[in-house]
């Protein structure tokens, strides 16, 4: 029957409309979250900058010591890779690109003849690496959406202790940098060993008063050794916050694209449905007319009945 195609199309339009409602809601949620995450990333900046400033002042004061976090191995035997991904999908290319960058780090380590240790944050990266039979040394979930400093501290402690114990000789941090709301890019940074205090100072970012001649209490060395672990935590925290903001921005963009696609699909399907309806009406009229004509040519008295029957069909 001619109405079949029309009914199928109507059902499809209904389901696309429901999908559109969902993606639209997700888009709006992501939009508010990205603003919040961006704000948090901004608020966390002063701490990181101040810590860098203190290190700059320490470097200016000539404090350079042998801290375990500055240890440089003669031979890299094992490379640690910290990868920050999300727990949930539907965020466009966000997870795939960061995971691919992390996998490249692992392959680089192998190419150098070193072993690897994966420190994974977020379900998505865990699923990817577990499925491909990589060994995962540490896994944390439930934090990438809205990370707290305490979360960062715990992960930083795991990483720092691996490094201090000599279980890894170098640690790379793979995360997504939040450049702006329209642009996020995957970043791979050397996490440990820390650069020497001079390099940290030279790279800047802190607002050191550079007045020189600081007094240190108890001593430059003990200030530095108390400071470096905090610096590691602050860096990881910063990376977590930027990744969270990037995740939400990516999700917003992906969901906006999905909503737009749904809209387009609805227009296309409605057009198709209208055409199908028009076709069936035309066919019906044709049938009636031709039926009437056929009957009318042999018997004029019977014309009323078939027309009524045709209209009901």
């Amino acid at each position: 029957m001619a109405g079949g195609k029309e009914r199928v199309l109507r059902r499809r339009i209904g389901s696309v409309q429901n999908t559109k409602k969902i993606t639209r809601a997700m888009e709006l949620i992501a939009a508010t979250r990205v603003v919040k995450a961006q704000q948090r990333a901004r608020e966390a900046k002063p701490y990181a900058e101040q810590i860098t400033a203190v290190i700059e002042n320490l470097a200016a004061g000539g404090a350079e010591i042998d801290h375990p976090l500055l240890r440089r191995a003669d031979k890299i035997e094992r490379v640690g890779v910290v990868v920050i991904s999300s727990d949930r999908g539907l965020a466009g290319p966000y997870n795939t690109s960061v995971i691919r960058a992390a996998e490249r780090q692992v392959q680089n380590a192998r190419a150098e003849g070193a072993d690897y240790s994966l420190i994974v944050i977020g379900k998505k990266a865990r699923d990817y690496f577990a499925f491909r039979n990589y060994t995962i040394d540490s896994y944390t979930d439930g934090i990438s959406d809205n990370p707290t400093y305490e979360n960062a501290r715990q992960v930083a402690e795991i990483v720092a202790s691996m490094f201090i114990d000599g279980r890894v000789d170098r640690v790379e941090l793979v995360y997504t940098e939040f450049v702006s709301i329209g642009s996020q890019k995957v970043a791979t940074r050397r996490f440990l060993p820390l650069e020497s205090t001079e390099t940290i100072a030279a790279e800047g970012g802190g607002d050191a008063a550079a007045t020189g001649s600081f007094e240190f209490e108890p001593s430059p060395e003990s200030v530095l050794s108390a400071l470096l672990p905090r610096y590691v935590e602050a860096r990881l925290f910063g990376a977590l916050l930027e990744s969270a903001a990037s995740e939400h921005a990516n999700r917003q963009r992906a969901m906006k694209a999905a909503t737009d696609n749904a809209e387009e699909l609805i227009t296309k399907l409605s057009r198709e449905m209208n055409r199908a309806r028009q076709d069936s009406i035309t066919t019906e009229i044709m049938e009636i007319v031709s039926g009437a004509e056929a009957l009318g040519s042999d018997d004029k008295t019977k014309i009323q009945e078939p027309v009524a029957a045709g209209a009901e069909a």
Binding site: A44, P46, Q50, V54, Y149, F214, F216, V223, A226, E233
Partner: protein
């Protein structure tokens, strides 16, 4: 003459304002007070309070659990993972934490965690009470 004080936590700037004098306690060094014009100074703070004397004579007491203080020119920055002002402290919780820690210390004198918990609880009570 005053200077600018900022208490910076990893999540945000927790406190900022003008001050006439700041009293803190450093590790090994004991209490130290800063007034404007102090030589540039960087110190590791003990688990203790930081007192900020405002230009109007008011005194703000903040509990600082581990952190750093940097004095440079007319600016004092206090960096701390955990800090609380008197209003944020849950006295009941601090009291129960104190008694738990004390019991743990009676059972085992060398319990480092309990000793730390005790000093934190005592600091909280001191700041909330003062």
């Amino acid at each position: 003459m005053t200077f600018q004080v900022e208490l910076v936590s990893p999540e945000a700037i927790a406190y900022s304002g003008e001050a006439e004098m700041i009293i803190a306690r450093t590790v090994e060094g004991g209490d130290i007070a800063f007034q404007p014009g102090h030589v540039p100074f960087i110190g590791v703070l003990a688990v203790w309070s930081v007192d900020v004397i405002r230009p109007d004579g008011q005194r703000d007491t903040i509990a600082v659990h581990q952190g750093f203080v940097q004095v440079a020119g007319t600016k004092v920055s206090i960096l701390s993972d955990v800090s609380e002002s008197a209003g944020d402290i849950d006295v009941g919780r601090a009291e129960s934490a104190k008694s738990v820690a004390e019991e743990a210390l009676i059972a085992n004198k060398d319990d480092v965690d309990a000793a730390e918990a005790l000093s934190r609880a005592e600091l909280r009570l001191r700041v909330a009470g003062g």
